[in-house]
Amino acid sequence: MKRLNISAAILTIVTVACALLWAFPLYWAVITTLKNEYEVVEPGIGLWPKIWTLGGYLYVITNTQIGRWYLNSFVTSGAVTILVLMISAACGYALSQLRFPGRTILWLIILASFMVPIQTLIVTHFILMNDFGFINRWAGVVLPQLIVPVAIIIYKQFFDQIPREYREAALIDGASEYQLFFRVFLPMNWGITTALAIITFIGAWNNFLWPFLVVTEQDMMNVTVGITQVHDAFGVQYARNLSGAVLAALPVALAYLLFQRRVTEAIMLSAGIKG
């Protein structure tokens, strides 16, 4: 018994050591931003700044358009989140609770699109957005990110758990179809809606390829694209570069730390595993 305890303790220590090592680059990046540029390039490993400074952050805030980039990121990611959830909740509800011609075929199409690689459409998406005049516009960033079949699948699964009698009873009480959806069914799935909202927002915020392609003007860039411009403009200035990186990651890191359980729940759901 005693031997088992010792080996268990060793295993725990190894686990914790691996976790520390895994997270170390994050710590190292943050601590680098709090040093001045001279200290950053000193030889050796300075795990703690000798002189604390916010100079890197001040530089990024005053010398780049990061405020503007933040606005772009918030507007486009917020719009993607709201639109995807509205489109998916409505469609998932109709597929689950209503009976209409074409229902089965629509459901099969959505299931099949689950597998389709939307990223391979970058060329024609660009042409389409150009036809609409949406290059370097928020709308151009948002639109191609709206096709998320998995959100519909998740909503349908959840609405499926509610028996149809429920709907019929509410209809007899005089509720209209739309009241039923907005006042009764949508609030029942509030948990799912928040979980999906958080990961959709994180996904849109983190998306690189499309926002990078469709925006060429600096002041229309998302913050995740913009911070690579700091890099190009100032060469090797690691405290500054990483300050930009920390600022760009802050909203998603906070969203995760505040809503850890919701984030994990949503990830399990999108992968098709009920946690």
Partner: protein, 292 residues
């Protein structure tokens, strides 16, 4: 079947936004992509119908073949390692409990929610030839410092390593859920019979967690076939095209060389590959559904 008229109207109103978005942003671009692949059009503007010329050119394009091989190499370097590392970490994390477990899990998971550009900035700093802290580790094992992203042998494995660090948290989550579904009773019974740790892993954990393993493998495979962001940021496909991959081939032809038609041809090829792999994935998932 009889439909209520009011119900049908409501249903069509509710599915309309998705159907419209789907037609405009998915069906139309897909057909347009196929059409484009049979023309010599630039990115913006019309071109002439050239039949299968692009496809014939593609099959002889040395750079495309290289890009396909490099994509395969990247898949090889990431998919199986990340799955095994994910399982190992999940097993380590799931034997802990309480606040220690949440903390350790957060440490492994946090990189996954970061934007790719942040990952890029962190690791260019970590691996900086002169000042990077990870160079101490490279010195230790390799004997000397390496400019990893400028070395044709180191570049791809390094990008793969960073990718695993970045995305592994996702796999860990799925594996933890899978491990949680294995009843403790089975382990207790095996322990009574005097089974060793390895025997328990080999005969209980591995077979029972296999459905999740298959899921992780296929998700990773599809994801890594579409690799672009990290490679573009770290190496732009270099050095000497040693990290040049499929999506980059599309990007370069469309947006830098202004060959819309040819880029669309590559996109069609990649699209087809991913759909085939996805159908295989669907089969795997069906097997999994049948079991549980």
């Amino acid at each position: 079947m009889k439909f209520g008229r009011r119900e049908i109207t409501a249903a069509y109103v509710l599915v309309a936004p998705f159907v419209i978005a789907y037609l405009v942003l998915f069906i139309y671009p897909t057909f347009k992509m196929v059409e484009l692949s049979f023309t010599n059009a630039p990115l913006i503007g019309a071109g002439d119908w050239v039949g299968f010329a692009n496809y014939i050119k593609l099959s002889k394009d040395n750079l495309f073949i290289q890009a396909a091989l490099h994509t395969g190499y990247f898949v090889l370097l990431t998919v199986i390692p990340t799955t095994l590392i994910g399982l190992a970490i999940a097993m380590m994390v799931s034997r802990l409990n309480g606040w220690l477990q949440s903390l350790v899990l957060a440490a492994f998971f946090l990189p996954y929610i970061l934007p790719v550009t942040v990952v890029y900035l962190i690791w260019t700093w970590m691996l900086d030839l002169q000042f990077g802290i990870a160079q101490y580790a490279i010195e230790l094992f390799h004997g000397s410092r390496v400019a990893v992203f400028r070395d044709r042998y180191w570049a791809m494995p390094t990008v793969a390593f960073v990718t695993i660090w970045w995305t592994n948290g996702f796999n860990v989550l799925l594996f933890i859920a899978g491990l949680r579904n294995i009843s403790q009773d089975i382990y207790d019974a095996a322990a009574l019979d005097g089974a060793s740790r390895w025997q328990m892993f080999r005969n209980i954990t591995w077979p029972l967690v296999w459905p999740v393993t298959a899921l992780v493998l296929t998700i990773q495979l599809i994801l890594q076939l579409k690799i672009f962001d990290q490679i573009y940021l770290f190496t732009q496909g270099g050095p000497f095209n040693s990290t040049y991959v499929m999506v980059q081939f599309i990007y370069k032809n469309a947006f830098q060389l202004n060959r819309g038609g040819y880029a669309a041809t590559v996109a069609v090829a990649l699209f087809a590959v991913i759909v085939v792999v996805s159908v295989l994935q669907y089969q795997v998932l069906r097997v999994r559904g049948g079991r549980s």
